[in-house]
Every structure is written in C-alpha cells, then in structure tokens.
Symmetry: D2
Subunit: 266 residues, 4 copies
C-alpha cells in the first residue's frame, strides 16, 4: 500500500525541482537559516551569509508549532513577507512550515517549498490538502513514526496528485537524553532502498546541540542523504527559538567546506 512512493514502481531516484533547484538524484541540497524569522534584517543577513557559504535554500519559521501555548508563536504573515524579502536579496528559494489546511493557498502563493513538521506528519487533512497542489512539500518524520508510517504519510500526498515530496529525518524519540532526539541514521539507507523520493537530514533538531551538528551532517552525507536542513543564526545566544542548536554563519561555513570534500568522494 505504498505504490506511488515505492522504488519498485519507480526504480530511478526522483529529482524534485524547488523553483529551479534540483533535490535528489545526486543533487545535494543544503537548506539553512534561522529556526524563527525574527526581523527583516536578521533573515536577509542570514540569507546572504548562508548563500555565500554554499546553501541552496533558505529556511525560516514564520508560523511556529510550539508545545506550550505561551511560547513565542512566530511572526506569522509578517515573517513570511520577510522571508520573501530575503529570497529577493539572496536569490535562494525559501522553505517554511505550514500548520493548517486553511493555509495551503497562502503558502502555495508565498514559499517555494512547504514544510510539514514532525508534529503534523499524521495530520491527514493537511497531507491531503498539500496533495491537491503541485508546490513541493518537505515532509518531516514524526517523532515516533516508523519508516513505514512515514512513507505512508508521503503516499497520502502522492495519492492526491502531488509527486513533489522530499522526506526529512529529524530524530526520533527514545530513552536517550544526551541529545534532544536520537538521529536515526539507518533511516537514510532504509528509505533509499524502499523509495525513490529524496531524503534529507536535520541534525539541528535531531541533536539539539550546535557542537554536534557538524559530525552528524558529515555522517548523514556519508550514509547517502540527499541533503541537509541546518539551523543558522547570527547570534544564537539571543535567538527567540532553539538557539542552543543553531550554528553561527562562520561555523556553517566551516562545515560546508568539509562537506564539499566528503561529497566529492561519495
């Protein structure tokens, strides 16, 4: 019951085009940027910095699905407009998280890649709605979802008619508490064997620890991932959200150097 996502049905790697940027099939994508969009200046500055270091897309949260109703919920519409401004100055396509089927039209008109977060991986109405458009979708794995369930969530989107799905492993929930979540590195070869869809890794959310992001990024590339989603903030200590897991632009630049060397021999 995963006929459309299955590699049996579609032996070659799918390449998803995000406003001209190819993802998958040998095209390694690096999506970088702040957890939350905080101001026009912040997101534009980070966009230029990550582009200079080699990022291929800009990420940034405008609508935030926070666990507590009293935490910062994002700049919402204003945040989306700042992301669009950053796209204009940097030329990088933008990816941001959607929270509701009511926002599908808005996101389709605004961003290049619509992110469905881990908390909404089994929000079946949202999956169906983004399946009815053609904008590419970045589908994060649920915190406690098996690889099989994750591919069924992707299947729900493809079954409605949208083939442009990119998967993203972002850590699963286990007993270990040395890291925020446990990066399931095996999910990369598992997905590549079962499905033709591109699969990225988000080492920032997986670990919750900026100092661990470079090791995990290199491991993901070595394991065969099609790209990375990395949080970068110009001042992690003052970030409104997830500062402890954000790289500075300098750290991101250093990581990109190592990554290029590794990708050359892959």
């Amino acid at each position: 019951n995963t006929e459309k996502t299955s590699r049996t049905a579609h032996p070659d790697d799918s390449v998803v085009l995000v406003s001209g940027v190819p993802v998958g099939g040998g095209h390694f994508a690096v999506m970088a940027g702040p957890c939350s969009v905080e101001s026009r200046t912040q997101v534009c500055d980070i966009a230029l910095a990550v582009k200079a270091a080699g990022a291929t897309l800009l990420r940034g949260g405008a609508f935030k699905a926070r666990t507590s109703p009293y935490a910062f919920q994002g700049l919402e519409l204003e945040g989306l407009s700042y992301l669009q401004a950053a796209r204009e100055v940097s030329g990088l396509p933008i990816v941001s998280e959607i929270l509701s089927p009511l926002q599908v039209e808005l996101f389709a008109a605004t961003v290049d890649l619509i992110q469905i977060g881990a908390r909404n991986m089994q929000n079946v109405e949202l999956l169906r709605e983004v399946g009815r458009i053609k904008t590419p979708v970045l589908l994060k794995r649920g915190l406690a979802s098996t690889v099989a369930e994750w591919l069924l969530a992707a299947e729900t989107i493809l079954a409605q008619g949208n083939p442009n799905v990119i998967l993203c492993e972002r850590g699963i929930r286990t007993f270990e508490n040395a890291t925020r979540n446990t990066l399931d590195i095996s999910a990369i070869p598992a997905v590549k064997r079962l499905s033709h869809l591109p699969v990225l890794v988000d080492p920032s959310h997986a670990s919750g620890l900026a100092w661990m992001v470079p090791s995990l990024s290199l491991a993901a590339a070595a394991a065969g991932a099609d790209g990375l989603l990395i949080e970068v903030h110009d001042n992690p200590d003052l970030a409104l959200c997830d500062g402890a897991q954000s790289l500075t632009p300098e750290e991101f630049g250093a990581l990109m150097g190592k990554l290029r060397t590794l990708l050359e021999i892959r």
Copy 2:
C-alpha cells in the same frame, strides 16, 4: 506554563458535563461503541446494547485518520448522521473524532463530545479552534508524548477559553510488541496529581487485544481513572476497522459487572 490545567490553580477535581452526563470528580464515565460507524442499524443496535450494559456515552468513528490512504476512511457525514440516530434511540450522548479545524462548526453542531485523536494531539491549529467553542473535548495522548506535553496540549485549548477538556490515555509507543501500544498506567496518578482535569483510559487502542481489555479496564479503575473508552462491536470478525480489539456486547456486559463491584470499593 500549565497554569490553567494545573491543580495548583484549581485544587478540586473538574467535572465536565457532556450534555448532562458528568465526567470526573467521582463520576465514572464509560464510553463504548464501534471503532467505525458502519451502518445505521449497526450503530443503533450497539448503542442500545452498551446502554443496557451500563455505558454512559456512545463512541463511534465517522472520519477516520488512517495511516494508509488506501484504508477505509469512514462514512464521514453519513456516519455522523447515523450516530445522531443512535443518540436518539438510546439517549446516550455521542463522541466522535474530528480531523481538521475546518470541521469545528460541523462537530459542534453534531456531537456532544469532540475527540482529538493521538495523531493530532500536537495539531496546534486544531487545538486552538476547539478552544474557541464550549463543546467538551476528549483529548487523547499522543503516541510519543510525555505527560507534560499532553497537559500543554490541553493548556492550548483552555488558554483559548474552553475549559471542558477530558484527557484520555491510550497507550504509548515503546519497544514492546506483545501489545499494539504500551498502556502507561502511571499516567493516571501522574495526571491526577498535576491537573484537575478528568482522565480516562482507552484499553482497546492501548493493547489492540480484546481479551486484554477487561484486565486493563479494571487496572485503570483501580489506579484512579475517571472512566473508560472501550470498543464494542456486534461482530468483531467482520468489523471494517480494529476488530481484533473490540469486545462483543456480551463481553462488555460481563466487564461492566466486574467494574461496578470494583468501583463500589474504590
């Protein structure tokens, strides 16, 4: 940051009134019925049978959040109308699962208790929308959500203005595979200590095994739960959904007898 759900703020047990049926504060609720509404006759017959055995509410799924897009998705609007018919013949208030913020008006006009399923416990837009009405909400615990996160999801509803929330533990995801999920019985005393909200147990989804439902139901009552959510089907072998975990009306009746004896000495 759980000020409205916290027992500190509200030392006495909350009693949530579901169309006249009290839940919590010593009022033990038993919500029984089929996983999916399959026909008018089916749901009416089961409603009368569970009422005769002592159930206080009728449960039944009309919109189903299935993992696979190719599984039976429920009778949808037709299913809701059959539930209403069953309410009329039995006098039992009805509870059914909502999937999208777009359905809030529909559900508020149709059911007595709106269920938010485990897959949507962190669907923050849905939580906010049901927070804006007064219809009682049954909030199931997410498969991999901590008790603290579950109470924050409840807080999201209460923070919008709807105080009528009933919690429901339905098993968490662990390594054990003898049961479908692992019933976290400790969550009952944990929630009762932290919060004033009523908390039920769903032994059918927790175990996935009909023969285990009676033991787990009695354990839940002994641990201090405020009620149960139990799947009952007149012909489990032919059920369109989750037959393996459904009791027959006879088995449900036998369980109700034991439960009454236990509740008397509690």
Copy 3:
C-alpha cells in the same frame, strides 16, 4: 522455544513454595522491606512492621548492583546475616539479590528466594547456575526486554532443572520521564496467558515515586498480578538507597488495607 514456561505445556497456574509460603495460583504474595539492608536494628524493625501489616516475605538488598562504582554497594555478607536475623525475629522468609554465579552456593544457603535483578536478566551464566539448584528464583524483567525475551530467560532456568521461578515486572525504559521507568501493566495479562509461572509487580522501582506506589499496587492486583514487591523504609529521607520510592511502615499498612478489600472481590 519456551516449552517449559509455556501454559500450553502446563495449563494450570504454578504455585512456587518459598519456605512454606505459596506464591501463585491464587496465593497473593507481598514482599516488603528496605532497598538496602543498613543495620541489624533497621532490618529487624522493618521486618516486624511489615509483618504486622500483612507482608508475607521480607526483601532487602545486601549486594547492590549500582550503576556508579562510587555509589553505596551494600553491606554484602554482613547484610545477609542481618536479613537472617530479621527472618528469625519475624518468621518471614527472605529475598535478596544475587550478582554473580560465584555466589550461588552462598545464596542457596542463606536466603529463601534468590532475586535476579533487571540488569542481570540476560546474564546467561547466572541464569544457568541458579537453574542447577532448587531454591526459588525471583526473575525481574530487564529494563528493555520484551515479554518474549523475559520468558526465554525464565526458560533458561527451567531448562537446567529448577522449576521454581517467580517473575517480576518492574517497569521498562521508555521516553516518558514523569516516572523513573514505565510500569508495563499489560505484561501481567500477557504473561498470565502465555505462561503458568507466577508474576509479581514492583511498583517502587517502576515509578521511583513513593506517592504513586499505592495506585500502581492496586492496579497490579486488579490486572491479575500474583503479588507485589514493595520498598518500605522506616525513615525514607535518610535511606542510603532509593529513599524517594520507599513507603513508611504506616503508608504500607494503609495500602495493605485497601489491597485486602480489592483482593476479596477479585
């Protein structure tokens, strides 16, 4: 491959006799006492107190398997001799944890019931050695062992010739951190269906929280457990080990009263 532990091979409940005290087959056992034996006076006083409240065995650790090499490791031989003294004054059989195959003779000569702790459930040489004697064995479930693996560990003992095995569920490791471990209440009906061996519950180690022990004890009895293992300390605040999960003799007495009422109607 669980032929000797299987209920198929042995349809009736096994009753294990621990120095005259029957466990299983309707005989509910309550094993209570301190986490660690701390002094002769301490353990004798607690023995008399728990006996007065209705306990049927005395538990106490002499050799402790602590995670840190720098934590208190128990009074060792001296601890065993104090337990023997407490047996003499109270008449209660004693249970204590063994750590090594080298200690089998010592324990067989000293205690009435040899406990194998969760950390050693898959210490196969230890299982084999206690399988070669006839002293009853209390086999705790490993922190991350499935019910199937737990029964195979019991099978390893029975396969060597010792049929006197009592199982004990003591919580499994999950993502939830509201409790020290997660009591798997479903393991009780699961084991009762698969095996004829008696199965106890240890709510003290499962939760790590004294205030939660009464609820979990009642739930265990309601779910069909054959007994309980409960930590009792006359001064939990000063306990050398696990004070936070120990009941006072008064709290234990109150729990025993509720338990008797529940067992009467079971």
Copy 4:
C-alpha cells in the same frame, strides 16, 4: 562520578594497545570476522580474507549469550582454540566475548581483547573482574543504556585498575522495526566529548542487515568513530548465527576500499 573515564581528567585521546595494534587517537581499527566460530577451517579462511582486505583484528564468538537456551551456544573452548589457530595463520590479534567472572583467567590467557556484550554491560561482577587484569576490554553499550550509564560501566572497570577500555556502540532498542536495533550515531560525538576512551561502531548488530552495513560504516567513520566491528562470513546463508547481517569477504573488501578513501580526508 566518571572521573577516570572523563575527558576533563584526561584531555588527550587514549590509545589502547591490543597486542601491538593501537586503537584510538587517530588509529582506526577494523575488527572483522564471523558471529560464531564454526570450525578451524572457517575461521582461518575468514581471518586470511579479512586481513587481506585490511582488517586489523579478528572477531569471533566462542561462548554465545543467546536469548533462547535452545539456540546454538557456540563451540566454547574448542572455538577459542580455533581463534588462536586463526591468529597464528593471520597474525591478527583476536577478540571474543566473555560471559562470566569465572572465565576471566581463561580469556586473559587466550584472547588479545576481551569483549563484554550488550547483555552484560551492567553485569557489575564481570566488570569488576576484568578491571583487576590489564588485558584490554571491548565494552559494548547495553541495549537500553544511556551514554551516561555506559560511561559508568567503563568507570567500574577503570576504577579497579584496568585503563584499557574500548567502547562500542551497537544500536539501541527503540520502537523502529525496519532495523534490528537503532544505531545511535550521536553517541559517537557524545562519547568523544565526554571521554578520552576510543569508541567503535558495530553496524552489523545495530542494523541486522548486511546490505545496510556499508552505509552505516561510512557514517560512523564520518561521525568520528575510532573503528568498526563487522561481521564477515564466507557463506552467510549457512551461518549458524546472524547470517542475515554478515558481509561476504568480497563485500567487506569493497567496503574497506571506500572506507580508506573517506579516512584519508577525515
């Protein structure tokens, strides 16, 4: 309470010498061989094959800690003698698993590196006994042990006087069932930051899937591991134990080629 294993106490990487072969501090070790020693010919042939491909140690099980008492338990003493024969023909130091404190003298006299398996990571008497000799110890992480508990188990060995401990991550138990266990790749950078001890990865036990071993091996090297433990069998289909996760010598040779390229740029 991890003073001897901590990097604070010992800022430089430790290099453990295994009969002349350095492990750690930039020396990448590859330990390869069959799950179980099956015959003299088998293990000698595999030893020569893995040596030719670049392995630095030979692994092979003689005493097996199987979950079922009816599974193949290994060739025991005979198996150790075949490993010694293979050491002679290949020149590779040998590593094999110990099961009991009673075997410490035997193993110290026979093997170059004593393995403590995941099931015995908290077998405290065994840890203490291998702490009293100087033979290097390969300490595998327990199935459900945190990084902190794993380092405390190592500390138990070091506290007795044996500083020659090599850690090995071999997958943890989670809800995911696409793989046998879940390789916790984050444990590598976590251990390297907390401790000076070398840390290896066992991708064979972590995944249980031979086809996944190459991806995970490269990921481990990229993440900073000090070596690998890999199962190699000349005829996986006929292996008496864990054939599904064993590479053929040819597959192992191909992996070693890729690994060398990656290590050069690391």
